[in-house]
């Protein structure tokens, strides 16, 4: 199927319009349609087409890399397989889909060399063996097998353009209208000429309307399915909110805690920071065993600082310390892990930063991998003022907590002394373990926390943090439960900074002492060593892979994108192919060469007026079949009782004009012209009465 004029050019323009690539598409469309005006043709061999196809494949790879890197698609795909967290998985899937969409959007660009080569090449069709190694192999095995005539790449390119335009997803009415117009134009030359044009147009309109309503229906179906899926996901996994509305602790569970050694982030302390502090993700004030949750958790938006990438969280604070955090964030929104008293965030290219009174910082529309600088120092924090919920001890825990508080005689101390006493209490009598045995001596109805405080006196950070918070509250010190990460494993791979793994996740207590919130960690320091020893045997390999990805991501962000490099690579390979192509070929003027000239040049007498007559008769329903000669056609008309007087003589002239290489002399040419004109004028004069006659007969 050959493309009708302007179709491919219009499709390219349409794609450019929809995909916002008009600057690229407009010259391309001009180039493609210009081939109809330019007579010069390039003489490509099969090998040349093969090279052009290779070029297309190189471009394909380039665009694929571009699409996946620009959207962190590869990282998303990696994390899809790397995690069990359904939320992360879901997110990875959306990112992967987005990368594929970007890729399809650029797809027409990939095949530009092929379509240009066909437009400016001598061949109308390109051999299948150019595209497929399988065909080439089959040819070698069975040289005698019949060959297909090849493919005209115009129509496939047309469909790729439409697909690319669809992937751009511009959501305007322009897409549907443009698509309908283009498809109608593509089908226009293929319509049956036996039916009048209005019938065809009417049918096309009906089909377009059906398509429109079907698309609307699909959209609604999509929405329904999407909602069902969301419900299903929620019911299936009981997904935890990413923004830290609550924290489900393992308090009350027995057996060993299994935490992964996956690297979550890397931290580079700034100058003067010797021991990095705990990085807090969020804090909570309400304990309902075993869940800590945040009460009245409303977020406030932080306006951007002097630059778009600098965000001032605490105006007026001049923090003295710096910490650089390298982390992969979820695209839509994610919570940051920050040192206490963070006043300013730098180098954070996100759309929005939100904070709440629990010190959580949420960033929206992240670029994926970020390396932000957190400036922090002692003093003010993001945490809001205390309220009554910071002093509540759940009734179930009151007995045990109250007992300990009385034993320590906390009520008589100043707040600072209370903290000291609690810290001493835990340091003296408690030990750290991740492997909790079931205590059979515990009476029924005793809460796990009470068991921890009264009998076992061993547990992990969540026990220590929860117990500390409640003890302080009992003693009248406002306290909250904080979660985040402890930074203490040196990054041996890089030789500097720290690496933070999933199992470095930590919980501690926030205490309100001296008009400010301070970190108060009572978990025995031994847990760090214990955590460190428990890496699995293949962790080094995973660390190495993680570091490679980290280095790649960081390099990419620092270099303001990998695109220039990739485009450079693609350009170099493309240049090599083009040079190889040009070296041996030269432009040849069609018609001046002695070799088989193009079909267009050997058609004589194309301007014969007899064609006008044929067209006129065609509009009256007397269409000539493509395989029917004029004489056979005229004979058929005559047998259909049509007046063909004079046409036979006229055809004799036309026939000589068309098929006699000697052609007509000027007088005969003029005769053909005048007689055809005369026939046409008499025909149109009698057509009115004639048509009614014909219809009456029909």
């Amino acid at each position: 199927m050959n493309a009708p004029p302007l179709l491919v050019g219009l499709a390219v323009l349409f794609w450019g319009w929809q995909a916002d690539l008009l600057a690229f598409a407009a010259p391309l469309a001009a180039l493609l349609e210009g081939a109809r005006l330019v007579k010069a043709r390039w003489d490509f061999s099969d090998a040349d087409y093969g090279r052009i196809w290779t070029l297309c494949v190189v471009l394909f790879a380039g665009v694929a890399v571009y699409a996946f890197t620009s959207n962190d698609g590869a990282g998303a795909v990696g994390s899809f397989f790397n995690t069990n967290n359904p939320a992360v998985r879901n997110n990875a899937m959306t990112q992967g889909t987005r990368a594929v969409l970007v890729f399809i959007r650029w797809l027409p660009f990939v095949f530009v060399p092929m379509i240009v080569a066909q437009a400016y090449g001598r061949r109308e069709r390109i051999d299948l063996a150019v595209f497929s190694g399988l065909v080439r192999r089959l040819r070698r095995l069975r040289p005698s097998a019949e060959r297909s005539p090849g493919v005209n790449v115009a129509m496939p390119f047309f469909s790729i353009c439409l697909t690319g335009a669809a992937a751009a997803n511009s959501r305007g009415p322009g897409f549907f209208i443009g698509l309908s117009v283009l498809l109608c134009w593509a089908l226009w030359p293929r319509r049956s000429k036996r039916y009048p044009v209005p019938v065809w147009l009417g049918l096309a309109a009906v089909v377009i309307a059906m398509g429109f309503f079907a698309a609307r229906g699909m959209l609604q179906l999509h929405r329904v399915v999407e909602m069902l899926q969301a419900e299903w996901m929620a019911g299936m996994f009981n997904a935890r909110g990413r923004e830290g509305s609550e924290s489900v602790t393992s308090i009350g569970k027995h057996g060993r805690l299994n935490l992964s050694g996956r690297v979550v982030m890397r931290v580079d302390p700034g100058p003067g920071v010797h021991e990095p502090p705990l990085l807090r993700t969020s804090s909570f004030d309400v304990f309902r065993s075993p869940v800590w949750s945040a009460n009245r958790r409303t977020f406030a938006e932080v306006l951007g600082g002097t630059e778009v990438t600098t965000w001032t969280l605490l105006p007026g604070k001049a923090p003295g310390n710096e910490l650089t955090v390298h982390v992969s964030l979820a695209k839509s929104s994610d919570a940051l892990s920050l040192p206490p008293g963070t006043g300013e965030l730098r180098n954070l290219p996100v759309a929005e930063v939100r904070t709440n009174r629990f010190g959580s910082v949420i960033v929206v529309e992240t670029p994926g991998f970020v390396s932000y600088v957190a400036r922090y120092g002692p003093g003010a924090t993001l945490d809001g003022p205390t309220n009554e919920s910071d002093l509540v001890v759940p009734p179930a825990e009151r007995m045990a907590i109250g007992g300990i508080a009385e034993e320590l005689n906390l009520a008589s101390f100043t707040p600072a002394e209370k903290l000291k006493a609690v810290a001493q209490f835990f340091a003296r009598h408690f030990s750290y373990t991740q492997n909790l045995e079931t205590d059979r001596s515990a009476p029924a109805g005793e809460t796990p926390l009470a068991t921890f405080l009264m009998r076992q006196r061993a547990g992990h950070c969540e026990y220590f943090a929860t117990a500390t918070v409640l003890l302080l509250r009992q003693a009248g010190v406002p306290a909250r439960y904080a979660t985040g990460y402890s930074v203490d494993e040196k990054d041996r791979g890089r030789g500097k900074g720290y690496v933070v793994r999933e199992r470095h996740g930590h919980a501690w207590c926030l205490a309100y002492v001296g008009d400010r919130w301070v970190d108060f960690d009572t978990t025995p320091g031994i847990w760090r060593a214990g955590e460190y020893q428990r890496g699995s045997s293949w962790e080094p390999v995973r660390d190495w892979l993680s570091r490679m990805w980290f280095e790649f991501s960081r390099w990419r962000t620092q270099q303001s994108g990998i695109r220039p490099y990739l485009i450079g690579m693609v350009a170099v390979s493309a240049a090599i192919i083009i040079i190889r192509l040009v070296q041996k070929r030269q432009w040849r003027r069609a018609g001046t060469t002695a070799e088989t000239p193009g079909r267009a040049t050997m058609r004589l007498g194309e301007d014969s007026e007899f064609f006008e007559i044929e067209r006129r008769l065609g509009t009256l329903g007397h269409v000539r079949d493509p395989g029917e000669t004029h004489i056979a056609w005229l004979a058929r008309l005559e047998s259909a009782e049509l007046d063909t007087r004079g046409l036979c003589e006229l055809h004799a002239l036309h026939s000589r004009y068309r098929f006699d290489p000697a052609g007509l002399d000027t007088a005969e040419r003029a005769q053909l012209r005048s007689r055809a004109a005369a026939w046409l004028s008499t025909q149109s004069a009698t057509s009115k009465s004639g048509t009614s006659e014909t219809t009456a007969r029909a």
Binding site: S148, M602, P626, T629, S655, F659, D660, A662
Partner: protein, 315 residues
């Protein structure tokens, strides 16, 4: 129309009128046969017995004042029976060549598919190159050399189908078919007293026949039409159900036949009508159909007719 072409056309029509005295209602067949003669091609007539194959061949042969020989092909016919044989003469102790019937201007090979393929192939060189090699010696045949072969349909008993190489040597193959009832009555009337073939007198000399052949070559063919003929032949090579498509010899024959027909029609150039008229008789017999397609009722003739319909004709 130039003088030479007009003259040749006149010769053409004279012979046709003469032949049609005998072959009633077979105008199209006579046209094709004479076109083949004028363009230097050979003719294979295939039809049921009694449809006038031999009569047509004889009528043409007699209309031209040329040397005419006839060979009745039988299963025991040998190549030497056609080409000739060298006989040792005791008297002068030397071999003398006795020319066979192939050394004639018009050769009627009657029931060619009754002979063994070996004998059939004896005609290959003669038909292809206008020469024969006997005893390692090349002998030229006289101009014009025109073979009219007749054969019964291949499905008949006691026949050997012609090998495809031999088939390809025939420029055209066509059937005469049964004539209309009125014509058949006329045939009966005409033959009541004597066979009209007996009354046929030569109406064209050998020299005139040669002018005719020369004139055909002057008929012009446009590039576009050549391309059309090549497209037709090429289409048979990829057509469904065809094992072996038409050779370039087929498109060449098609062009020559179209030229001859154009001359017959009084044109100085060949047109698409002539090409379409000759496409089936020139191409169909060269196609080898796949057995599967044959059993499903697909014929070579049908394939070519379909191709004619599908290929856009230059108009």
């Amino acid at each position: 129309m130039t003088n030479e072409l007009a003259l040749a056309r006149d010769v053409f029509h004279r012979i046709a009128a003469n032949v049609e005295l005998v072959m009633r209602g077979q105008h199209a067949s006579v046209r094709k046969l004479l076109a083949a003669f004028a363009s230097g091609g050979h003719v294979l007539l295939e039809d049921f017995p009694g449809t006038g194959k031999t009569t047509l061949a004889k009528a043409v042969a007699r209309s031209i004042d040329a040397q005419f020989k006839r060979v009745q092909f039988t299963p025991d016919l040998l190549p030497s029976d056609i080409l000739g044989v060298s006989v040792f003469n005791q008297r002068d102790q030397a071999f003398h060549f006795h020319a066979g019937p192939v050394f004639a201007n018009i050769l009627l090979a009657d029931e060619i598919n009754r002979a063994s393929p070996r004998t059939q192939s004896a005609l290959l060189e003669a038909m292809g190159e206008g020469q024969v090699s006997v005893d390692g010696e090349r002998r030229e045949l006289t101009e014009p050399f025109f073979v009219i072969a007749t054969q019964n349909p291949v499905e008949f008993r006691g026949t050997y189908p012609l090998p495809e190489a031999q088939m390809d040597r025939f420029a055209v193959q066509f059937t005469l078919g049964y004539v209309a009832a009125a014509e058949e009555v006329a045939i009966l009337t005409a033959q009541a007293q004597e066979h009209p073939l007996e009354r046929i007198k030569p109406c064209a000399s050998l020299a005139e026949a040669l002018t005719l052949k020369h004139a055909v070559k002057q008929v012009r063919v446009s590039e576009e039409l050549k391309r059309y003929m090549v497209d037709l032949a090429a289409a048979t090579r990829t057509a469904k159900g065809v094992q072996l498509g038409a050779s370039p010899r087929a498109s060449l024959a098609l062009m020559k036949m179209a030229q001859a027909l154009a001359l017959f029609d009084g044109q100085e150039f060949a047109g698409p009508e002539q090409v379409q008229e000759m496409a089936v008789p020139v191409i169909a017999h060269r196609l080898v159909m796949e057995p599967q397609a044959r059993f499903s009722g697909l014929t070579a003739r049908g394939v070519v007719e379909e191709i004619l319909k599908q290929t856009p004709v230059p108009a």
